[in-house]
């Protein structure tokens, strides 16, 4: 502008201006602070408030967290240590509970000797995640490991023969092979359905007989050697147990000795602090008395207010019912106040009389302890008034309070109140001089206490170490004795194996005969069928009660004979199978789902839910976009029903109701049911999130893909989903974080997730009353995982931001 003005209207720049650096206040830290902290009056105010609030929060949390006790065997011991450092249980955390129980919080009741298995699975999880999360930095061949990981992890955690995960994986391979062969012959839909059927057939009908056959052939070969080994082992075990128990007893003795030493230290400290306690005992009743007097003083004031308002004694000013009632109410409250005044004053008196030791006793204690170092303490004590001087005026006051009526004048009440206040002032002086003395004593004690405090801390650490050793010994005892029990059980199972196996054909025959005997009554619509085709619903019954009500006793009897025979056959068959499975197992010891708990449970459910719900959610989202009427409506119904019912209801359905729908005798693992429910639940949300992403994609992308001749699945895989998923990343990760945290809901169906374990730990008398420390620990564990997921999502969003529209 100025250029134009100085040079006239026509202007041509002949030299371009060089770059200049910005003014001082416009760069670096100063600029940042000015813009972000002090940009306006409101901003300055908010900055100040925020700093203050952060200070308040940290000032209360940090000393609690960092001044906590790590070594203690129980909450009581925690408090002992805290008290020896002049702290109450509110000032210091009792982290000892975490030190004592962290393994349980992480692993639940998983056998400690097998901890390495979930830990290995957890480490491998990260190896498996690497090619998925950081596809650009990790060789793509690693994907094969990622695909194998689920099977490997399940095998590591649950154990069993090594071929089980391989067989399970082969189900997918079988499906894939069928798909590859058929997709050239039939259409893609038929091929997909048949592939699914092939996989299901493999898992349902081929896999477990094959596994059983392997167990049997390996087991039969091993029979003699295993039996001999077990017999040898059983012979060794009692001695081993005895040795362990003896070691445990030694440890217990060590612990008892260490406890005694610790108690001695505690007593020593109490001895040092005896003067402090004596003063404490002086302060406490006096403070109580002071409070009572204060209340009495307030009551006098209230009474005086009422009397002044009514002129004198409350009396009705008119004959109306309301006036009479009001006067009565006032008179009643005046009477109550008069009574209160008397009782409060006598309460104060009795506090002082009964609880406060004589000052001479205090002096004696002082001479014996603190006063040795600081002579002024004794002077202070002797300078204090005797308790009689505090008590005497109270007696007079009580007498005067006794004579109060509604007729007492305002002036009298005011005089009484003034005297009560005088007594309060005397008490307050007394208390504050006592507190001064206590401060002096604490100061003199501080040096003396340092050594025993340090001693206590180290004794506690030693004690914790001893206790840990003892608990690992007792764990070992438990493990070895359960090994002994199992070995005995297995021996007797082996002894009867041949007999049981031999009895099977006969049992089968019996069942078949009994089955023939059952009276068949096919539905009347089907009676025209030839006899060998006639359906016999009775033969598929599993309970006599399923017979119609008009069934005769004979019919019932025959059915029940058949059912008994069948149950016996099935149970013998199962027991033979179990024995062979144990005998022929090549792999890891099997571990029951009930033993899995703690944060590990949350991780298993969370990771399985996340991994499985994403593909399912994608399919549901595509289904919801589909033009095929039934595919569309089924997906919509699925999403809406799953989403519309609380997760906890689904979990309870999984734990209780599903049993009614499953065939009897099928032992469907509870944890697996929970994983399925959590997966379905999350998939419904993921589907909606991805649908949002699909909707945000311009139709041009679909047309572009179509015009190039890409098939539906190709355009989804290559064009649509990569872009829709990118848009949906924040929503997907949000759902995952929610899913991961919701895994704690399994506590309601009796699984021991971290929250359930916290309850179990509190049920232990040692740790009864601990809340914060346990929940802080659990919260921190969850936070680490959820925060990492959130950060990863941000990283991914940034990485994929290259295409700007």
């Amino acid at each position: 502008m100025t250029d134009t003005n100085t040079h006239g209207v026509g202007y041509v720049r002949d030299k371009m201006l060089p770059e200049k650096s910005p003014p001082i206040g416009e760069k670096g830290a100063i600029k940042w602070m000015r813009e972000n902290l002090f940009s306006s009056k409101l901003n300055i105010f908010l900055t100040a408030i925020s700093i203050y609030v952060i200070y308040i929060v940290l000032a209360s949390i940090l000393p609690w967290a960092f001044g906590g006790v790590w070594n203690a065997g129980s909450l009581t011991e925690c408090r002992e240590v805290l008290f020896s450092f002049y702290k109450t249980s509110h000032d210091g955390a009792c982290w000892a509970v975490i030190e004592d129980r962290w393994l349980q919080l992480l692993f639940g009741f998983y056998p400690p000797e097998a901890y390495w298995r979930p830990i290995l699975a957890f480490v491998l999880l990260f190896v498996a995640l690497a090619p998925i999360l950081f596809a650009d930095k990790v060789p793509s061949k690693m994907m094969w490991f990622s695909l194998a990981f689920p099977f490997l992890a399940v095998w590591l955690i649950w154990g069993g023969s090594f071929w089980t995960p391989i067989f399970a994986a082969f189900g997918f391979v079988a499906g894939f092979i069928v798909l590859k062969i058929l997709s050239k012959v039939t259409g893609p839909i038929v091929a997909n359905l048949l592939a699914l059927a092939a996989a299901l057939f493999w898992w349902g009908a081929v896999m477990s007989p094959l596994s059983d056959a392997l167990h049997k052939s390996i087991g039969a070969g091993r029979f003699d050697t295993t039996l001999a080994a077990i017999e040898a082992r059983t012979a060794e075990l009692p001695a081993e147990i005895a040795a362990l128990e003896a070691a445990g007893e030694d440890k217990a003795a060590d612990i008892a000795a260490a406890l005694e030493e610790k108690n001695a230290t505690v007593i020593e400290m109490a001895g040092i602090r005896v003067g402090e306690f004596a003063i404490e005992q002086q302060i406490e009743p006096k403070t109580a008395a002071f409070e009572q007097l204060d209340a009495a003083q307030e009551s006098i004031e209230d009474l005086s207010d009422i009397l002044t308002e009514w002129g004198r004694a409350p009396a009705a000013t008119s004959d109306s019912e309301a006036a009479i009632a009001e006067a009565e109410r006032a008179a009643a409250s005046a009477d109550t106040l008069i009574g209160n005044i008397g009782s409060l004053l006598s309460g104060a008196l009795s506090d002082l009389e009964e609880d406060t030791a004589d000052l001479t006793e205090v002096s004696e204690i002082m001479v014996a302890s603190a006063a040795q170092e600081d002579a002024s303490i004794l002077e202070d004590v002797s300078a204090m008034v005797d308790k009689a001087e505090l008590i005497d005026p109270l007696a007079g006051l009580i007498e005067r309070a006794g004579s109060i009526t509604t007729a007492t004048t305002a002036a009298d009440l005011a005089a009484l109140r003034a005297d009560v206040e005088t007594a309060m002032a005397a008490l307050s002086t007394n208390i504050s001089s006592l507190e001064t003395i206590r401060a002096k004593i604490v100061a003199t004690n501080a040096d003396d206490l340092e050594a025993p405090q340090a001693k206590l801390v180290s004794q506690m650490a030693g004690l914790t170490a001893l206790r840990n050793e003892e608990s690992s010994l007792s764990q070992e005892v438990f493990r070895v004795s359960s090994e002994a029990t199992e070995a005995n059980g297995f021996m007797s199972a082996l002894a009867s194996l041949n007999e049981r196996e031999a009895s099977l054909p006969q049992l089968r025959e019996l069942t078949a005969t009994a089955r023939e005997q059952i009276v068949c009554k096919p539905h009347w619509l089907l009676r025209w069928l030839p006899a060998f085709l006639e359906p016999c619903p009775e033969r598929n019954m599993i309970n006599v009660n399923q017979l119609p009500e008009d069934a005769t006793n004979e019919e019932r009897g025959l059915l029940s004979i058949y059912l008994n025979a069948r149950n016996q056959e099935l149970s013998i068959e199962a027991s033979v199978r179990d024995t062979y499975a144990e005998l022929g197992r090549v792999g890891l010891a099997p571990i029951d789902s009930r033993e899995i708990g703690g944060f590990m449970l949350a991780l298993i459910v969370g990771v399985a839910g996340i991994v499985l719900s994403l593909p399912l959610g994608i399919l549901l989202a595509l289904g919801r976009q589909s033009h095929l009427f039934f595919v569309n409506k089924i997906c919509v119904a699925f999403i809406e029903v799953i989403r519309g019912v609380p997760l906890i209801v689904w979990l309870i359905t999984a734990s209780l109701l599903l049993n009614y729908f499953l065939p009897p005798g099928s032992n469907f693992d509870l944890l697996l049911r929970v994983i399925i429910m959590v997966t379905l639940f999350a998939a419904a949300y993921i589907a909606e999130v991805i649908r949002g992403g699909l909707a945000a994609l311009p139709t041009g992308q679909y047309e572009g893909a179509d015009s190039l001749g890409l098939s539906y699945w190709q355009s989804m895989q290559l064009i649509v989903l990569p872009q829709a998923m990118k848009i949906s990343i924040p929503g997907i990760v949000n759902t995952f974080i929610g899913l991961f945290k919701d895994t704690v809901l399994v506590v309601f169906i009796g699984l021991f997730d971290p929250i359930g374990l916290a309850g179990a730990i509190r049920a232990d008398t040692d740790w009864n009353g601990i809340y914060w420390e346990l929940f802080v620990f659990i919260g921190v564990l969850f936070f680490i995982f959820c925060f990492s997921m959130g950060r990863y999502s941000l990283h991914l969003e940034k990485k994929l931001q290259r295409e700007h529209r």
């Binding site: 893909a705 015009s707 190039l708 001749g709 290559l718 872009q723 290259r802």
Partner: protein, 263 residues
């Protein structure tokens, strides 16, 4: 509209029209719901023909060419492309789509893939060309549209004109026998229109069969061997460009031409 096409002499000699029929549309009708968009369209396009379709907006020009590769479904009549009839048979549709290239007004490049990946995607997945060979083909066509140095960039980093040329190269990578252009220059700045039209002219000189919906009348005059004027879902007039522009027969065509050439 002024002539924005190239100043160089156009080699019309090379633009030979063969007798072979590329597209045969017979009595084709299309409705959007109850709205009759295309009415009794009859059109035969020979191999090597360059046809420009023009007309007011809403006249059905885009819908017509979108029917040719089944981005829109027609409800009556037949469309034969290269001897294959367009029906609801998915195999025929995929076959025709891989023979017919298409360029859109808004390019419809895939923003999450690089230029090279955009060009090799369909050859690799539809034609099952080996990746290396597909990349060589892609580089060949990118050189042809004069942007080989942008191959590793993402579409968002390119100008509109460059993006449209990539879109043309992407279609060419499938070695189509027919190219459809749906207002390829309408979303471009005037400076960029020329580079796209130049590319299209080169393509025409190589004998590509082209159907082009456009308002670039200069291009029509220079390149087209037939201009079709559509209004209200029907073909109102078609003629050789000289005849069409200098001596339009129908009143509707005269009005349209006076409006777009009048300033």
């Amino acid at each position: 509209m002024s002539d924005t096409t190239t100043e160089r002499a156009i080699n019309r000699e090379a633009m030979k029209v063969s007798d072979e029929v590329a597209i045969q549309i017979t009595d084709m009708n299309k409705w959007y719901g109850t709205f009759h968009v295309l009415r009794d369209i009859n059109l035969t396009v020979n191999q090597g023909e360059r046809i420009v379709v023009c007309g007011p907006s809403g006249s059905g020009k885009s819908t017509l060419i979108r029917c040719i590769n089944r981005l829109e479904e027609h409800q009556a009549g037949t469309i034969m492309v290269d001897g294959t009839e367009l029906s609801s048979d998915l195999k025929n549709i995929d076959k025709i789509r891989s023979e017919v290239g298409m360029c859109f007004q808004h390019f419809n490049l895939f923003p999450h893939l690089t230029i090279l990946e955009n060009c090799t995607l369909a050859p690799i997945w539809v034609r099952k060309t080996p990746k290396k060979e597909a990349e060589e083909i892609a580089m060949h066509f990118l050189e042809k549209v004069k942007i080989p140095d942008q191959a590793l960039k993402y579409p968002g980093q390119l100008s509109g004109g460059q993006q449209q040329r990539v879109a043309i190269a992407r279609s060419l990578c499938m070695k189509p026998r027919i190219m459809l252009f749906d207002e390829p220059t309408s979303a471009l700045d005037p400076e960029m229109i020329k580079e796209v039209l130049d590319t299209m002219i080169e393509l025409a000189e190589e004998g590509m069969t082209m159907i082009c919906v456009t308002h670039e009348m200069g291009f029509a005059r220079q390149v087209a061997n037939r201009v079709i004027f559509m209004d209200a879902g029907q073909i109102v007039e078609q003629n050789e460009p000289e005849e069409f522009f200098n001596n339009p027969q129908s009143e509707r065509t005269q009005l349209f031409l006076s409006q777009i050439l009048g300033h």
